[in-house]
Symmetry: D2
Subunit: 367 residues, 4 copies
């Protein structure tokens, strides 16, 4: 079994031509596609309609090839889009295919493995609290368990779309009266998702976690989580990326932590471990995908000096913070096809965040 990944530029959120070509030429098979993860040129906010547009376009592309109704495609393929390509970022999609059958024997060389799962349906009162953390952790471990890993330290990225189940104003009022007000919002779901990953992978101790710590104690964090959240979603969607001795192919993943959004050394460290010759000159295919998560430092300063991202009522801080980190990644790595997502509660240290890179390697496991 092997994972193949294709990083394709798009000309718009509904541009599926690159994938269509791969399918039409037989380079990939529709039934092998397990995920399409992309950056679209929206604002990344509440009124970012580039995400449903991209999803609908891929559903239209894949439905007839999978022999299902468009609305059923997402049962078969994770379609995950993040809006916001501020600055130099090139809108792109990373298409992940899982091909072949499981290896009976472990190999010495570990290669990229990807697994997918879902939590049970979560209730509004569980979101942003320990039940969400624990259910998320359970699923992360469960999915990781299917990948034949040597250990959880081989997990280098967990991409989650967190549940935000619907609730009524009456539900909210009742929770308020019970003294446990709902946290069933974007921040709550993202934060608990990230801590769920951290718990699953042993990045934090179970004893350190509590409802009170979620959204408050930011010394607790994951270095491999990349969590978004989606209003109306009932089950958190989990994609685990790891290096497995039971997967073949030529892809490897690694990760690191950025201490702030200017952390060139942190970026280089991950690239160096992968053997990536950065900055990439030309396009040798060695750099396959880059995923980072961060935000404008909520303390209003970076490296001790004031920034103005949090006080601008014309342009949101998420747009600028994405632009900053993406620019530094693109300049350091030499590729503008970088995926940076914002709002990073419990994702890396305050003002910083996790970074994961997938590279194409030779037989020696080096890019």
């Amino acid at each position: 079994m092997r994972i193949r990944a294709f990083n394709l530029e798009t000309r718009g959120p509904d541009d599926v031509e690159g994938v269509r070509r791969l399918l039409d030429r037989g380079t990939i098979q529709a039934h092998d596609v397990i995920a399409v993860i992309g950056k679209t040129e929206g604002n990344g906010g509440r009124n970012d309609f580039t995400r449903p547009l991209a999803i609908m376009a891929f559903e239209r592309l894949l439905a007839p090839r999978l022999g299902v109704d468009p609305a059923a495609v997402h049962d078969r393929v994770v379609l995950s889009f993040s809006g916001g390509t501020e600055g130099v970022v090139t809108p792109h999609v990373v298409v992940l295919c899982r091909e072949g059958t499981a290896l009976a024997e472990r190999r010495t060389a570990k290669r990229l493995a990807v697994g997918i799962g879902h939590t049970r349906a979560l209730r509004p009162e569980e979101i942003g609290r320990m039940p969400q953390v624990e259910e998320t952790a359970r699923v992360v471990r469960e999915v990781a368990g299917t990948l034949g890993l040597d250990g959880l330290s081989d997990v280098h990225l967990v991409q989650l779309k967190g549940a935000i189940p619907p609730f009524s104003a009456a539900d909210a009022a009742a929770a308020e009266r019970r003294g446990v007000p709902l946290r069933c919002d974007m921040a709550g779901s993202r934060g608990a998702s990230a801590l769920g990953v951290a718990l699953a992978l042993g990045e934090v101790e179970r004893a350190a976690l509590s409802d009170a710590a979620i959204g408050h104690d930011f010394s607790l964090y994951s270095s491999v989580a990349s969590c978004s959240a989606k209003p109306g979603l009932e089950r958190t969607e989990v994609v685990v990326f790891a290096n497995s001795p039971r997967f073949t192919g030529d892809l490897v993943i690694d990760h690191g932590v950025l201490r702030d959004i200017l952390d060139v050394d942190g970026i280089r460290a991950v690239a160096r471990r992968l053997g990536l010759p950065i900055p990439i000159k030309g396009d040798d295919g060695s750099l396959v995908a880059v995923f980072a998560k961060s935000e404008a430092d909520p303390r209003g300063a970076v490296r001790g000096r004031r920034h103005t991202m949090l006080g601008d009522d014309d342009v949101g801080d998420t747009r600028y913070s994405r632009c900053v980190l993406a620019s530094v990644l693109a300049a350091t790595l030499g590729d503008t096809r970088v995926y940076v997502s914002t709002r990073a509660e419990h994702h890396g240290p305050l003002g910083g965040g996790p970074l994961s890179i997938i590279a194409r390697v030779g037989d020696d496991g080096r890019a």
Copy 2:
């Protein structure tokens, strides 16, 4: 004679407290202040009112200390502000003081020299055309001539605020009828200013220049110009920065060209020539000021890959392109007090631009 420079963070466009403190403590004298150049947290566009606010605040600060009316301060001090501190940029002002008297003898060690001048009043029909180029060139050479330089290759930055004299609709119509439509706008004034610098310093040949080339042939450019323009201004304001054997002090300036807004190598080359240990750790005072000029590549791509800056109707391309280059500069140099200005007609190669850095050096001339 020496130049001293202070790079001061501000808490708002009207924050003059840092300079007030220097004056009140006697660290600097009001009569020695020749220029205040700053970045303010505006949008950098037509409705950026942070610039007049900063100017008015500095006029109020300096007027009683210079014994003149507030409206007369700008006859004595260049007050030049650029809006736009997108991303991590820290709003700041660089205060330049010229102290002491001219050296009779040339010294071996060259140090930062700054001179100021103005063109004659320009007429609307001259803007964006050769008369503006030639008058600008004349003044640049004239000011450079006062600095006792070994040669024009010691000029490393020419900061200009270009004239855009007022004109009536009738003037414009008459020019249209004569077949030489007015170019008396921001782009025209900036482009001709930059080519004026290029002509003065021998960066382009006189024979290569023509009205037709201005705004069209972008293979012609200056690598040291940094030109803005201001509607209503009748005389272009010129500030020349160079290294002179007739200046003392501990400051040196150098420059380079960035081939695009991700050009880490170009940034490092300038720092290396100055002996700057980058990225700066802590704040040892060796990095004094950073000035760059650039824009979103008008061809819609950076390093062969699409960017979306030119097609976003919610946020202008100048805001994002400033953010990109400033992020790369801040990450590479280790300081968020960087001055990046946009719209860069004839400033460096298309999609790139000039970079100048002032550093504090030891007796060996190295930072």
Copy 3:
């Protein structure tokens, strides 16, 4: 033959539930749907992806019901969306159905008739010039001719999506060299479309029209056109709304001209002619659809006083001018489901624009 119209609020650009319900309940038949015209909550600009999202959603809804491929739906149904619901505007779609067969005899009472057509494929050099004007006029007259009208003065709205055929940089350069530079852009296509309507309906004389007049002489205009344009579209799409003695039903349309975007009297005049009791209290169904076109007065003033819409680099003038007119329409008419589109070259007098209203009437032809 009759036209039925449904004005349905939407909860998002991809919300087709209202129409699905009408179809599922048998209230309307998919084969009778001739057009869906809507306002979506985008920015109305180049990066407004709410329009393709709405189109894709309606294609997915209608394709299986029409028995065609999603991509073929637009051959059967005009799907036309305009972004921008600034202020109080409620996102909505107007669904138009044409039912029954043509009347042999003319009736005394005229009722709403709607016809659809397309120009031939237009070439880039024709756009924004007389060939586009004349071909548009030809098709408007042709479509109007199918509606059994008493005369062209019974046409009260012509909604067009103007062609902007693709061309290469070489095409543009060649046109430039021939001395007839391409006008193949939004402004060119919209302006020539509007003048095509004006020519068809006798609002302007053929002799007054010329390539030079298009985009310059704004005393020439249509009072019933509502034109957008779409890059990549090769044939202009034409929808003609009129009152016909050969149509039955309970809908009537009328129009008027607004002299500026605050023209309450102009709005009232149209409502009065239709017998509409405005402002509507409650929702009696008498006001069916409102279409207006306008823009921020390019002279920088409304009724002699300065406005700031044209100099704001944070928010575009189209967003504010839509907001202004939509607010005045909603307040005057008492309904927030109003369709206001901007950029109005040759649409009504400078700073003003056309207004059309569809009302539900009794047997006396009065709302």
Copy 4:
């Protein structure tokens, strides 16, 4: 004693030319100026620097004429600017002068009276709570008491700039621990200011007010308050507008409540009571100043239909809601010099707000 008012268009936030002319010609005397209230073309948000710019410009204008330091002008004159002239609003300043001496006798005809006062310095823990309400009420009554009114029902506008005294993170944490978290922010200060006015004028009962009601029970409101708030301000600034039998002149004020931001009938009712012939045709000087306060209905709908103002991450709801009401006011009254301010906690009913109009009247007291 009489109040004179001048409504002057401005060409920018720092345009003081209109007032300078009035002063230079002797039309008004600097010592008579009690307030300058204006709308400037900023975003009305945290980074709106048009307000300090306007203030600094008026301080520079008035300081030498008052014989005081620029920084001392605000001790003598209320300088109050509100950013946001979205849509058709013309930036303008209303200059208020108080001339002559107090009348010993009451006259039958009541004319506009304006009085100014300040609360004591408020402490952070008082803001947004009953102490701020009560102190504000005390000062409103005190100032009203100086105007020789027949009763408090003759008060038609109370313009307040609410205190937001500075506090440390430690102060905030301590308050949190005490169980009475600080409400020392914009919303808290505005809401308590408005309820202070309501209490002073008998619009709400003292018994109905409590810390719990502030910011929650929006059935409690003032119909004459117009409150902003300013971080760093220690004392709330209060300007009371009323009709007094002890004032002469030709100005009268009246007010009303708008039930929503489309309430044409509510606008007309106020104009009718003043005898204003609306919409104003030409500029007969009868309409002197218009002040309104409102916001995007927080329930997400206006008159039962969805609006999108609260979910747009590109443009804030305050910008659009100001645009809507200002458009409706300008269209209904026939003048684009209208002052609309947003965020309207406890200002009129939810989704609506107060409206005050100053008119110039004849001897019969009618405009």
